[in-house]
Assembly symmetry: C2
Homo-oligomer: 418 residues x 2
């Protein structure tokens, strides 16, 4: 049993399994008799001294967290700047940590959070305050360096592959007299990881998706139209998966072409899928449909990947172990041990090797023509969507997701104006 | 054992469970040693004499059909007109049926298909050809008369309620610094059945969805904005579910306001969600996100309702029984026997009571303010999404959906130009 408390905070866009990490953190800490506080709305809660006492939650609630999507304590989109530029906020953070005897700080997020955790650890050192900072990986974007994959990605990838396989069957059935071209918009502003995952939906030649558009390749409309036409003529229909982040050769986001303001100055919300669908309709004359799953793809806990869930829990558990061992400025990451059968383990990595780096998709994951994935991509991606881990359902036919009490810890400091 | 063959055809938009009906039809017919042909692409296949010999499919494939979304033989959007106006096509149909010794015709669809089946039965009678025509219910729109509910609706309803519950947790977690208003677009051009199903996602006051927009009520933008603002101020965020078919008091579809042509004559694909999201952003200044699940909501077999699946199979089985008993121009429909516990049975209904009628949502299902569902709606809807019936998954992490061989039957007639 250790003295002091552990502070856990979630950061950035939530995932289907970030709460599974939280659940594992709390469970592991409880087993070691360590008190866990959680920051409300991520780092903001730490700055505002809005802390949650997780000891008020029964074991059943913490267990249910493991199958509840969203972010149970709230998350936020706030990036602290450099130690110099944001000095006041970093010092406030440290004050709050001290006031609540926080000796272990676990920050669950992506690149930015790794960076923040690293800076907090440096400041604590500077001030001689004994604090162990641990980054805990999470992002559906799968763009963290060092780790083989990111908790949250596998479930979003599974949602994507399953959804594309399902809607393709729908389109195939109707194509003779109805929709011939279907466009699915996948998240991915910088890297096409989720669009690549859609590629898992197809097994044989001419299976959907027929065309995948990656942000890694410049988008050429004429070539795209030709490919769509060829596909419709050969297969009878064409399922397109487009990353939200595709750009033309001059760097313009295709999504922006469909948006902007109309003649009355009203906002037109863009989107790659609606834009491409409209262009295909105008140019090729096919009946089109499109989908924008948006948040559904990162909150679909009902179709989570078991592999992803297990990794999300494993990094949470390891984070507590690393913290209590005083392994400062580290992150538990996933290492792929073998591909067939797929084996992985958790190993420690330095935050400084992760913070502000970005993992891009290997060039050999994209097919030569740029419209599909290679066998190498398939070997990498497939294990990540393996296994099912459905949530329990209630008698009302809906998943039993938990909403925590989130009991506030009494504040000890004056209000912070920052 | 009976002489003659049974022809089965799918019609209109497919669902997550229409193939479960097909599976039940074929299984029931095989048990009675009746040969089943299927029309390729619905009624078009019957007109073109493009028939499929289902006896070439192994038992395992027919079993797998029960958990495969889409339409295994193809469907179509073709509505035959009156017997007078479309005489040539009806006569051709009869010719094809005769040529293949079809004595039982099962047409699996919505209102239009019930009408077509009825007309074919009348023409057969007129020509003295012994044919039993059976309508088999199917539609995610839940708008068929007489039947308590429609196979296909329950699974789309479950998808909707689950998805809304999940994305609401996502929005709730991020609302402090990110998206405050989220708009979910549900299918439903004429009736708000699926939007109503979204209401099941919330249990307590202030649970999402906070606002449901039904086509049954005229859309008033100012009142809507006021409600969104009030909700964000009270709850911190607002989840809106909008039926694609909502209209303003003058009858204009709201979806069309977001579409049309831009200044260059390019198509702008509309949509209720993107339009409402843009208007909320412009008027209230909130950060918005929106989703358009489109075909995903009717093909999501992975989250099908067990009740819906069982009903889809039951109507298929009953259709074969009715057919072999010679119960001409009938449809097996679902009768609700009791609500708590939910009990139902299949009973025969006359096609003439179903064809061209449309079931609308009862007025007492909508809350007085028009933004939510009542307890009566909940009592009706809840049993329909009850129970889970996940498909088997492969080792690749994806549902094992079957693709049939669809072996063509040799043509016997000259080509039809109609």
């Amino acid at each position: 049993m250790a003295n002091g408390t552990l502070l856990y905070a979630q950061s950035g866009g939530v995932t289907a399994v970030i709460n599974a990490t939280a659940s594992a953190v709390i469970t592991a800490a409880r087993a070691r008799k360590v008190k866990v506080l959680a920051a409300r709305n991520g780092i903001l809660g730490a700055l505002r001294e809005e802390l949650i006492d997780t000891s008020k939650e029964p074991v059943s609630a913490i267990r249910a967290l493991a199958h509840t999507p969203g972010g149970a304590f709230g998350s936020c989109r706030v990036k602290l700047k450099s130690l110099e530029a944001d000095r006041a906020r970093y010092e406030r953070l440290l004050e709050v940590l001290k006031a609540h005897d926080v000796r272990w700080f676990l920050y669950n997020g992506g690149n930015d959070s790794a960076d923040t955790a690293l800076k907090v650890s440096r400041l604590a050192e500077e001030f001689g305050y004994p604090l162990t900072c641990i980054g805990v990986p999470k992002t559906i974007d799968n763009d963290l360096a060092v780790t083989d994959c990111c908790p949250g990605f596998g479930s979003a990838a599974k949602y994507t592959a399953v959804s594309v396989r399902e809607c393709a069957l729908d389109v195939a059935a109707m194509a003779d007299t109805s929709t011939k071209v279907f466009v699915y918009e996948a998240m991915g502003r910088h890297a096409g990881w989720l669009a690549a995952a859609a590629g898992l939906a197809g097994q044989r030649a001419d299976d959907a998706p027929h065309i995948i558009l990656f942000p890694e390749r410049p988008f050429e409309e004429a070539t795209f139209f030709a490919e769509v036409k060829k596909t419709v003529e050969r297969v009878g229909y064409c399922v397109v998966v487009a990353s939200e982040g595709i750009r033309t050769a001059d760097g313009t986001f295709v999504a922006d072409a469909g948006g902007g303001k109309d003649a009355f100055g009203h906002t037109q919300l863009g989107g790659v899928a609606s834009h491409l669908a409209a262009r295909v309709k105008d140019t090729l004359g096919y009946k089109v449909h499109w989908t924008l799953p948006d948040y559904l793809q990162r909150s679909a806990r009902h179709v989570a990947s078991k592999t992803d869930l297990e990794q999300a829990q494993a990094v949470g558990k390891a984070a507590v172990e690393y913290a209590l061992k005083g392994m400062n400025a580290m992150m538990p990451v996933i290492q792929r041990m073998s591909e067939n059968p797929y084996r992985w383990k958790i190993v420690p990595a330095k935050l400084e090797d992760i913070a502000n780096h970005e993992k891009t998709m290997p060039a050999n994951f994209l097919r030569k023509d740029g419209y599909g994935i290679t066998a190498a991509a398939r070997r990498y991606l497939e294990p990540l969507i393996k296994g099912e881990a459905p949530p329990p359902y209630g008698r009302d036919g809906l998943p039993k997701y938990v909403v925590l009490k989130n009991t506030a810890v009494k504040k000890k400091l004056p209000k912070f104006e920052g």
